[in-house]
Assembly symmetry: D2
Homo-oligomer: 390 residues x 4
């Protein structure tokens, strides 16, 4: 690969009526490191074409189906060929689309949750290992600089042994049954065939779990889940609350909801250790509260010289010029781009800071255990044994 | 009783080294409605005497034991006799002291948790009913005006049907084993003989439960508790997390801790309904966040004309002149004073806004169920049936 | 004076319809160090009597006029005689009432602004010096523990040389002309005969000035004021904005208003030094933000072991149990009580932490200069030379 | 112009060591509406080349001087020619560079303050009028959706007549004399030859002034300024405080600083009207506080259905997914792109929401008046008469 060029990528999903596709495009374009050149934006051919046109794409590279796209793009000459694809479809398509593009030789960025089931996740992991392609899962909240700073504080031991994680993620947008009112995103997320066997925990609770694990490295030993479908007629849960016991003795509380009136996207995490504590709120992402034992709380802010290298690397603007969601999301893409460039140079991905297929497997195992717990009369459901490094 | 005089009260407990006794005295004296005239402040006679002297008490009314105090004070002529006593001892003395003073004819204000066990609580309730004395339990957080405002919003139906309560109460003061370093309050709270079979949930979790019940009126159907003693050697739990199912289908998350580094007294509650949501933080008590569906969040603030009558009645200062812990605590005493004066006038307590012996019974049932759940392998432990109006 | 008794005080002003009188009584009674035993609560004899009755006072010590009160109380035997009086009348009575009671042998606590004019202030100062009585001015915001902590940080040099003070005090309660609608407090405050030649700056701006001086010790060299009466028909200013140059080169911005819609009592101060900065907000008074150069901001909170001795001494409750307006106000009274007891013991007042008659003189000089500046076409109006230690 | 293509732009300034150039590039690329294809990034040819290479530019379109760039690019065939240029140089180059590119037929986006002097600003305005090119000044803070919402509330009359604006913009990054330590941005900003006759007010105070005018439409009648150079040896002011009287009687306080320790980029504005008030803080830009008279404060948040059309149009993400500085900045570019496309279609710019050359003239008049006031002994300096619609 010629090093001094932008990467080229294509997108599957993300047509009109979608939400996360546009976010991926904003994130991918932000740093000027890559350009969108192809897409199968919708199973509706007209939608796909209109979307491509708005994005100034060459109409010949706008496809009606992802299968056609994979075939045609794989046959492109190297100077035009895609470097990677972004998969932003509903959940049920993640595994087949990702599998096909990986096998067709492309690197893959995929939205979460990774698959419909733990089994599918493990199968996708085998494909990634076999094809040796870069595979990234967009647990985008780990892209925030102050989350990276939090991770540094925990991993360096400066807040001591972690005793407790309180992770919460309340939203309120599904308080009415809008899936019956033409709301496309609500429709597939609440449909077991398209979303899998969880709505709330799969859509947002997995972010909260992933965030806690990213910061602390703690692995779950067992958990206890209470799922509720508050809105009549809804098949999947719209509220999920969990007690967690981590390996090594730490405890966790994780609660999330899509029916918490007035809540927008209120992902919060607090990590309490023997020597200090951290708190981070997604809706005010440029700040990290750090309280060391016996000392006043400190408000660490993005962009300052006192931060660690990971927070600095994930930051574009000076202090006081807030960065937010898109910038954090872009950090995932930036790391992916670096990994792709590195692999192209060295034949190996090296160490980059983005969620991998193993994170996806772990997340699906978490969902799997939580769904089983929600149906169980036993207090504790053990976390599955996984063939990944935990 | 002569109406135009201050009430007279005595105190049991609250000597040097104690914390909550001084708070009760500040609260009782604030509104100039009552005066402290007697006390058995400590089982250590010298401590009791020194405390009485600092409080400008007549030394003849400072006692070495609560038994003596009850006997002597009951024999006083009416113009000197106590109207009520405040019990601020460690938990294990609540029931015997309260029982004795009730039977000796005095009204009683008692700190929480009410007793050592549910059985004791039910017995105390019988004594209250039999003696027809005013009995108040100082779940002081319900004294905050903005908590009363929250209650009004829920009880009037304006936030719709309550779906979820998230109550949290993290503290960090027991992160070290200070009970072995001469810290008296830590010592008795972590000693099963003096505190009962719970430390964290009994000391603070009961406040969180009571607060949720005060605001919403919801009763627990079943619960699932995870207790942990993080500090080595500590016999009782210093961290407790609960999932709750309420009668009627609402869900709850209640988590509390005494080992959450950096947390001071961070009691928070959020109530989510079908039409709106409320959030209140004890550390910023003059504000109540209200979010009605589809509307911007509103920050209701103490002292404003737009508030309901209960919030107004519990308020002394104009808006912007913050009131806080002592003032809220004083509201309990003010209501008790009104009840005592009313009973003296009419022979009946009428309707006053303070926590009663029934609240104490309910709280002990909550503790009882939670302790049993923490030891159980079943997910859900049913809440006990109680002979009180639930 | 017998040391082991409560102090006795009387009140002038503070009858029905008043605001600040009740606040003084709450503050005075809080710590159980003093009791109200006499009063001339209103020039309306019935109002005075009704007020005395509600306060459980002996009717013989409730007076129709402050002159009678001074005469009768001064003739009381020592075991009944007042130790001090609290003056909570409209401004125009401060000087005559204070003068009379000082000359009658009583210590005095007086509300601010101290007098109607700088001349009156200087005269009152002479009386205080001559009578050698304790005289305290209730610039109550200096009673907050975290304000004392701020003072410690500045005075110890830890934030370096002070460069700038930004003090603001917006309120909104006079946005309508409520002085014409029977609002007694608005009526006298906007009446030049009763309030003096300033409404907004005199009522609240002086608090902001005093607060800045308390924390930093900086004295004003010259100032530039812009006064506005926004509400038609109002004779005195309801909005005042000032640029300030301090002795030694620091700069100041002080703005206050009574017509800032939605503002309650939003006194804020920020002090910027060469090594650090401090920020304190009266509406969240338990916190002090401290930012040392190159370091994250720290949130210092009342009640913690890391605070200095002044903040600790001004604090009653453990961390996380918020204290607020009454408690801070009570700190003034507590210091006054200590000064009175000390003088009674030693014949000298010693060092106590409350605003003195010199602070009152300074405040009146500030008002005097600001009023002159508001009428001047010159940018800078020099601060008057004063015979006090500046 | 072919409508279905990205716009092409070039950049003058923004090489290594610069700050704002990179911000412009992030903002321009965000929405995928335009691409950078040429640049003269530095007067240092190597710096310019290295910068072009990192940005994946064709080396033939990376220039050593802006004069060469203007000449060569103007001669390009239409299918390659730039649509516009972005000028991100130090202030002293704004006028010559903008003038040259306008005369060469290009639209221009220019950083602020627009010129070195009011005279230069008026001359640039004549060029813009004559060449009929789109000219935008990047007062980027007006690009924030919640600022647009604030403007809607004021302009619709819903907060009544505006009485007072409090605008503040403290920073702390120039607390040390870093202009002597190789800090390029500090060096030119504090150099009168490159920055003009103001440092602090020109760099940030103009943003605060512009923001107030954008929201309220109020024009200044007269002002009073106090400038200080706190850091020894610094020629231009690093702290500036102003009292303002607006046409029609409203009052203003505007204070800004570059030596306020611990402040990052704390642009805040409060607008008080007769019926309501607004407050917006740049460091938490997704929220707008609105308080209507007699009602609780409301926290309006970006992305919600209850907002007006301007706030909605300036927003990319759903509520709770915070947007920030780059997104707001991008809104300026997006409007410029729409204006350029519209002009190309219709020959006229129409109505677009970005700061114009008239805003630049106004801003320079503000600087001019403030600098004169700072040197004057009169309290009030009148605002210049301008040939623009005020």
């Amino acid at each position: 690969m010629k090093s001094n060029r932008k990467l080229r990528y294509g997108m599957i999903g993300g047509g009109e009526g979608a939400f996360i596709g546009a976010v991926h495009r904003l994130a991918a374009s932000l740093d000027g490191q890559m350009e969108l050149v192809a897409g199968a934006f919708s199973s509706d051919a007209k939608n796909s074409r209109r979307t491509g046109e708005k994005l100034f794409l060459d109409p010949r590279r706008v496809y009606d189906s992802f299968e056609t796209m994979a075939r045609v793009e794989a046959a492109m000459p190297e100077q035009d060929r895609l470097d990677f694809v972004s998969i932003v479809t509903p959940n049920f398509l993640h595994a087949p689309v990702a599998g096909l593009f990986l096998k067709s030789g492309f690197h893959v960025v995929c939205d979460k949750p990774m698959t419909l089931s733990l089994r599918e996740a493990l199968e996708l992991r085998r494909i990634v290992q076999k094809t040796r392609r870069v595979f990234a899962l967009t647990h985008n909240y780990t892209g925030y600089p102050m989350v990276k700073e939090a991770r540094d504080w925990v991993r360096s031991g400066k807040i001591g042994r972690v005793l407790k994680i309180v992770a919460e993620y309340p939203q309120g947008w599904l308080l009415d049954r809008i899936e019956k009112q033409g709301h496309k995103q609500a429709a597939w997320r609440s449909d077991p065939k398209k979303a899998g066997n969880s709505c709330c925990l799969g859509d947002i609770g997995t972010h909260a779990e992933n965030l806690g694990r990213y910061i602390t490295g703690l692995k779950i030993e067992k958990l206890c889940a209470d799922f509720t479908s508050f809105v009549p007629g809804r098949k999947l849960e719209d509220d999920a609350n969990l007690l967690i016991q981590y390996q090594g003795g730490a405890r966790g509380v994780l609660h999330c909801s899509q029916v918490s009136c007035g809540e927008e996207n209120n992902l919060n995490i607090r990590v309490y250790g023997t020597l200090g504590a951290l708190a981070w709120h997604q809706e005010h992402p440029n700040e990290l509260k750090l309280t060391l034992k016996g000392q006043p709380a400190r408000i660490l802010r993005r962009g300052n010289a006192y931060l660690g290298s990971a927070a600095k690397a994930g930051s574009r603007l000076p202090f006081g010029h807030p960065e937010a969601f898109i910038e954090a999301f872009a950090n995932i893409y930036t790391e992916v781009a670096a990994a792709i460039r590195a692999q192209s140079r060295r034949g190996g991905a090296g160490e980059f800071d983005f969620p991998t297929v193993d994170d996806g497997v772990y997340g699906m195992a978490f969902l799997d255990a939580a769904v089983r717990s929600a149906q169980s009369r036993s207090k504790w459901t053990p976390f599955p044994k996984l063939p990944i490094k935990q």
